[in-house]
């Protein structure tokens, strides 16, 4: 028995280096667990099975912030992976790290893998592309905020669930009726800064920050204290005071309230689809994010949230070839269409969206195309291309704090946003001086 084991051990030690030599290894660090983690694993396995030159090794490194930190720490120690998943908020940090990252367009050109930058959806690609049109990182999972409706809650409160909720004015009326009908939680939100400031600004085509939201230079300043944003937050603050908008926390805590059927309306990412579909025991509905008729007659597009894949500097050309192949595989229409349908994330190529439509998915799952339409209906402007701000994770923290002051009634929306601008600008100046 013992001998057998030893023999087997010797055999594997002899064999494994041979196998390793034949295949080039590509390290891929990501932030997904649960169902999303399984789907990523399946993508990697499919890629590994599809060819025998490269082997991609995926590993989970914690949540978005932790994954970014792991990547940074690894780079400092010279142990960086080939591919690192970074959330959209970390984009400016990565872009400024010249010498640590290898732009995707370069990787693709050198590896000779098939790559057509025009195939990607503009609103998705724009977030990760330089002003010259060079793609720096590959969009991986992108979503955009939409309005989720609990139809049963509407009926219980005696409000028509098919009522028009396209504008915030109409939503305001609906909240009034819901409240009057005995609904204790008319509206909740997830990711308040992302939905009610960043997207609100893009959707109404007003700037969130100067210098094209930071795309045109590091000397950008926040402009989130403009009249449009303040008007929206003032309305939200009033709703909070009247118990029509219930604040549950800085992240997506509100999701639990909505999925349990407690709340009637919920502003959350389109990627909330998988969770809501799995858990909700009520009839639900997806609507486009509302806009203020008083500000615009026709909304612009919303912007994305999610993550992209960055290629790290400091590896062999042969390995970069594998990276190129893998990224090309991920962008392929079949992989993207499956990803989009399984998760509610947006397809990153127009072709994947078409394939999904052709397969009849949107008809079987009404509302799943709303996010795609909302993102792509209009060509993005300088205000709706995305955001590129340094220390943005921390700035969001500041915005969260100031918004809490609005919800609790301690500050007016104008006071809170003026203060958020002042504090955020200080961080932007520090980021600027660290990256000169």
């Amino acid at each position: 028995m013992k001998n057998n084991l030893l023999g087997a051990f010797a055999l594997t030690t002899v064999l494994s280096p041979v196998a390793a030599m034949a295949q080039t290894e590509v390290q891929f660090w990501h932030a997904f667990t649960g169902r999303l983690g399984e789907l990523v694993k399946a993508q990697v396995e499919e890629f590994n099975a599809s060819q025998d030159e490269f082997v991609v090794v995926e590993s989970h490194k914690g949540n978005y912030s932790e994954t970014l930190n792991a990547g940074i720490a690894a780079f400092r120690a010279g142990e960086q992976p080939h591919i690192l998943m970074v959330f959209e908020v970390g984009t400016a940090t990565m872009m400024s790290a010249k010498g640590a990252i290898k732009p995707v367009y370069e990787v693709m050109a050198e590896s000779g893998a098939s790559f057509d930058p025009d195939a990607y959806i503009g609103a998705v690609k724009g977030y990760y592309t330089t002003t010259d049109g060079d793609m720096l990182s590959l969009p991986f999972n992108s979503s955009t905020p939409v309005l989720w409706v609990n139809r049963d809650a509407f009926e219980a409160a005696g409000v028509d669930p098919d009522t028009d909720l396209s504008t915030w004015e109409k939503v305001g009326d609906a909240l009034e009726q819901l409240k009057a009908g005995g609904e204790d939680c008319p509206l909740v939100t997830a990711w308040q800064s992302w939905v009610h400031l960043e997207n609100m600004s893009a959707y109404h085509n007003v700037p969130f920050a100067s210098k094209d939201n930071g795309f045109a230079g590091l000397d950008t300043e926040l402009m989130l204290n403009g009249p449009a944003q303040v008007a929206h937050l003032t309305a939200m603050g009033d709703w909070a005071k009247d118990g029509k908008f219930i604040y549950t926390g800085r992240r997506n805590e509100g999701g639990a309230n909505f999925r349990s059927g407690e709340c009637a309306l919920f502003t959350e990412s389109s990627a909330g689809y998988a969770g809501i579909k799995a858990e909700a025991e009520f009839d639900f509905d997806v609507r486009p994010l509302p806009y203020w008729e008083a500000i615009t007659s026709e909304p612009q597009n919303t912007i994305i949230g999610g993550a992209s894949l960055w290629v790290m500097e400091g590896h062999d050309p042969e390995e970069y070839k594998g990276v190129g192949e893998f990224l090309s595989f991920l962008s392929s229409s079949d992989v993207q269409a499956a990803w989009h349908q399984n998760t509610g994330y947006l397809p990153i190529t127009a072709e994947a969206g078409e394939a999904t439509r052709a397969a009849g998915f949107y008809e079987e799952n009404p509302g799943t195309d709303i996010a795609v339409i909302q993102m792509t209906a209009k060509e993005p402007t300088a205000n709706s291309k995305g955001l590129r701000l340094g220390s943005f994770d921390q700035i969001r923290g500041i915005i969260d704090e100031e918004l809490e002051a609005v919800w609790s009634g301690e500050k007016t929306a104008q006071e809170a946003m003026d203060s958020a601008k002042e504090r955020g600008d200080a961080l932007l100046r520090r980021f600027e001086s660290a990256n000169q």
């Binding site: 549950t248 921390q394 809490e404 200080a426 001086s433 660290a434």
Partner: protein, 293 residues
């Protein structure tokens, strides 16, 4: 004449203290030195470039009113945690000391919470006080009290204090209990014969004799409240609402590892080091004078 043990030569003493010196050097002096050095720069997160700014990071911090507010938050938080963990512990120890039967079981049960890691303790308390599914907040709601630590500063502070102090009570209990056992019975019995009732005996005899232990626990608990409560705050409030529970050590974390601003984060840890150092000196200089060994 004091009796002294002397060693001949230098080698043996050096060898004997070497492990401690090496551990301190590797785990304290080296990182602390690095922090001091880093605090003079604004580096980029990847360590590709860094800019010497002298005391610029300190200037930036001290001119930030939110950073200064964090000192006040920390002072309130650590005072409350220290009080809330020491007073109940002392009370429980005194009660347990009087028990004749079953004190072993009682003791064991009281020590259990110490085995719970701060982050886990945070999750447990958060679960009880969750604004939606929490048991306690539900009962409070029945009494007409609307618990919402997500928006209410005082409730958030109360919750993190209780969650931080809870596990600590066990630790303090253990020390107080051991100290109570060593209070000479004869003194207490003499006082009892003189007619001093229980609480009088406690305040005039037992408490002064416990003072060395209480002093030790004071120092240890303040240090605990300053540094080790990170997990509780991270899991329960994340420093909010607004900045109501952002204590200094939490800010070191959020600026360094969320904001990737390593210069500011290092400067903050240097300031924290100085503050705790000063606090300990003050404690030893003034409080210790009132301690009877």
């Amino acid at each position: 004449m004091e009796k002294r043990v002397t060693f001949r030569g230098w080698l043996l003493p050096l060898v004997l203290i070497a492990p401690q010196v090496i551990i301190s050097a590797v785990f304290f002096f080296y990182p602390a030195g690095q922090a001091v050095w880093q605090s003079l720069f604004i580096p980029d997160p990847f360590g590709l470039s860094s800019q010497f700014v002298g005391f610029g990071n300190f200037e930036f911090l001290l001119s930030d009113k939110y950073y200064r507010a964090s000192f006040v938050t920390t002072a309130i938080f650590s005072t409350l945690v220290t009080l809330c963990s020491m007073i109940p512990a002392l009370f429980l120890a005194v009660i347990a000391d009087r028990l004749i039967k079953g004190s072993g079981v009682y003791r064991t049960l009281l020590i259990w919470p110490y085995a719970v890691a701060p982050a886990v303790a945070g999750v447990l308390w958060l679960f009880m006080f969750n604004t939606r599914v929490g048991v306690v907040s539900w009962y409070l709601g029945q009494f007409g009290y609307d618990w919402n630590h997500v928006l209410n500063d005082a409730e958030a502070m109360g919750l993190v204090v209780v969650a931080s102090a809870w596990g600590r009570i066990s630790y303090n209990f253990l020390f107080f209990f051991a100290a109570l056992q060593s209070v000479p019975r004869s003194v207490i019995e003499a006082a009892a014969i003189d007619g001093a009732h229980f609480w009088r005996r406690f305040f005039t005899i037992v408490l002064p004799l416990l003072s060395p232990t209480a002093f030790f626990l004071l120092v240890v608990n303040v240090v605990y409240a300053f540094f080790e409560t990170f997990g509780v705050i991270h899991t329960i409030t994340g420093g909010g609402p607004q900045q109501a529970t952002t204590i200094l050590v939490y800010k070191v974390f959020s600026d360094g590892f969320v904001g990737q601003d390593l210069g500011s984060s290092s400067a903050q840890s240097v300031i924290l080091l100085i503050v705790v150092g000063l606090l300990t000196v003050v404690q030893f200089k003034y409080v210790e004078k009132r301690v009877h060994y």
